[in-house]
Amino acid sequence: MSNSFIFKSEFWIPKYTGVKVCSIKEFIENLKVIDKFSIFYHMYINIFNYHNLPTFYTNSISYWFYKNGRVLLAEKISIIDPLDYYDLEELRRVLVQTLEENYDETWNGREVNPFYFIKAEREIIECGYFANTLEEFIEGIKKSSINSLFYHLVTSRIENKTLINDYSAWLVNIGEAKKAEKIDKLDLYTMTLYEIKKKIINILEGE
């Protein structure tokens, strides 16, 4: 039983940090010190929300730049995949560095639309079921909500300080390395979590 996979789920409630900025300079300054779960919120909200519609960019920071006509910055930030970083401080460093490298001092004016730093207040629960075999694991995935998928594909990596999601980590442990690798390579930013769920089930059932 020590190797059981315990299915969990995650819920967010958005909390305002009290920080509203009106210029890119202010944005960068605050990004350096803002609560790391604000970065988490803004970089992952588009995955967490069901994004069935053509969204402009992958995260809300890029969208803010876009809305203010800073398309270059929007593009530079949108290509940053937060899943490449399990440490939110490292992600912060990369974001700040990217912005500072591409920021033009002559832009130092007020933007039309302000940016509100929001923080994710999270609650994680156990779903009440677990898996010891691949069959039980597939059943568990089928019963999982998109919130549960988000926890296992995204947050578990941050909590466990590893780049591999914990579906894949558990599959490697039971000798299903190929399936694990395929799941780990899924691009969460180009599909909805419902589509991801179907893909995972297909991979687990042998496609």
Binding site: F11, P14, K15, Y16, G18, L53, Y116, S144
Partner: protein, 402 residues
């Protein structure tokens, strides 16, 4: 009751609600607002309260009572919180607000609850009843991003005594708030008579009953008769459209007991349109849910041309019925409409007219946008998500994780 939502949100989502609610079992919760009928707040509470009870969280809903004088003042306060327009709050109004608050103080039991949700400014003064150990949350349904300073100062007397407050979206939050501030989007109920599926025959019959031609393209705005909803602007946009398109306009609304201005605006509209055979200004009883449903389903294009908007859930209602919405680029409307995907965001009467014409002219656009509109509401603006947000918020506040 919760099981009825499985077709909309899936079994796994309902299962998770029960898991979260286990952490809150035995909790006693009270919601207080100022009307049982009319407006989005009452509509949400009508369903949210039974759903919370279904999760074995003992939840009651009580209404703060006021008279015409009180509600005239709170309507003025509401408008001042939306827009700083130079009107003043006078001392007589403040005294009267406090008098009515004191009368409710004596009548309304709030002591026997662990969490009290106070909706909007009308019952806000009840915070003076807060008991040790209770958590009081102010739920604001208004855009207070740029309030009249005097109106805000009045609110502030009460606000910072609350344990937390909730706004629909970050843009509505005034910067000076000192207490924990959350953002929770409101929602619509797919099982509400206003949103259930209707047979085509019923839609046609309803339109005919009110004198409309079911065969003629219909432009619709559903809202209270309120200047901030800009029904006069809709009328002007319609006249611009009408030059090239044979269509009809329906302005559908109802009076709410806490909105004395409604009747005045309604009469002005009636006078203004008495010679317009294709314009229908309809004041329906507040419980005309199926009629409103039929109008929304029968509409060709739905409009929401508010000048300011708390959230404008009527937009989501229309989107849920697969209708593209032409809405003002303000408040919660811009959170619901994805410009060019689920409808259009506009900034003027002329902009509204242009977009209405584009949609009237192109059935493919209407159907494509209508499909995306419904999907968007399904995943973001249904009541189950709203309920879950409240559960998480209550758990966080009770556990003081700030």
């Amino acid at each position: 009751m919760l099981e009825q939502y499985i077709p909309f949100v899936g079994e796994e989502t309902i299962h998770e609600l029960f898991l979260i609610s286990k952490k809150l079992k035995g909790l006693r919760v009270l919601h207080v607002n100022s009307t049982y009928k009319g407006g989005g707040v009452a509509e949400i509470l009508h369903r949210l309260v039974p759903l919370m009870n279904d999760l074995e969280i003992k939840t009651d809903w009580k209404v703060f009572k006021g008279d015409k004088k009180f509600f005239t003042f709170t309507k003025k306060l509401h408008n001042l919180l939306h827009i700083a327009c130079g009107h003043c709050i006078n001392s007589e109004e403040i005294v009267y607000y406090l008098k009515i608050t004191y009368e409710n103080f004596k009548e309304l039991d709030t002591e026997n609850y662990d969490i009290v949700f106070i909706h909007d400014p009308q019952p806000m003064g009840l915070i003076i009843k807060k008991q040790p150990g209770q958590k009081w949350i102010w739920r604001c349904h208004i855009d207070t991003s740029s309030p009249d300073p005097q109106a805000w100062n009045f609110l502030e007397n009460f606000l910072n005594t609350y344990d937390a407050c909730i706004f629909h979206m970050p843009e509505f939050i005034y910067e000076k708030i000192e207490i924990p501030t959350y953002t929770i989007r409101p929602s619509i109920d797919p099982l509400h008579p206003k949103n259930i599926e209707l047979p085509e025959e019923e839609i046609q019959t309803t339109l005919t009953k009110f004198g409309l031609d079911p065969e003629k393209p219909l432009i619709l705005q559903v809202s209270r008769f309120d200047r901030l909803k800009d029904p006069f602007g809709v009328l002007k946009a319609f006249k611009l459209v009408k030059k090239k398109y044979d269509c009809q306009l329906a302005l559908v609304g109802s009076f709410a007991p806490d909105d004395p201005e409604g009747e005045i605006v309604y009469k002005e509209l009636i006078n203004l349109t008495s010679d317009e055979k294709d314009v229908f200004v309809l004041n329906l009883p507040p419980d005309s849910h199926k009629e409103v449903n039929a109008f929304q389903r029968g509409a060709t294009v739905v409009v929401q041309k508010s000048l300011k908007e708390g959230f404008g859930l009527v937009v989501s209602e229309a989107m849920w019925k697969g209708k593209p919405v032409v809405g003002s680029n303000v408040g919660g409307i811009k959170r619901q409409i994805v410009h060019g995907v689920t409808g259009y965001l506009v900034n003027s009467i002329e902009g509204a007219a242009v977009r209405i014409k584009q949609l009237l002219a192109n059935k493919y656009f209407r159907e494509e946008m209508g499909f995306h509109a419904k999907e968007r509401v399904k995943h973001r603006f249904l009541i189950i998500r709203h309920l879950r947000d409240y559960l998480i918020l209550m758990y966080k506040i009770l556990n003081q994780i700030f």
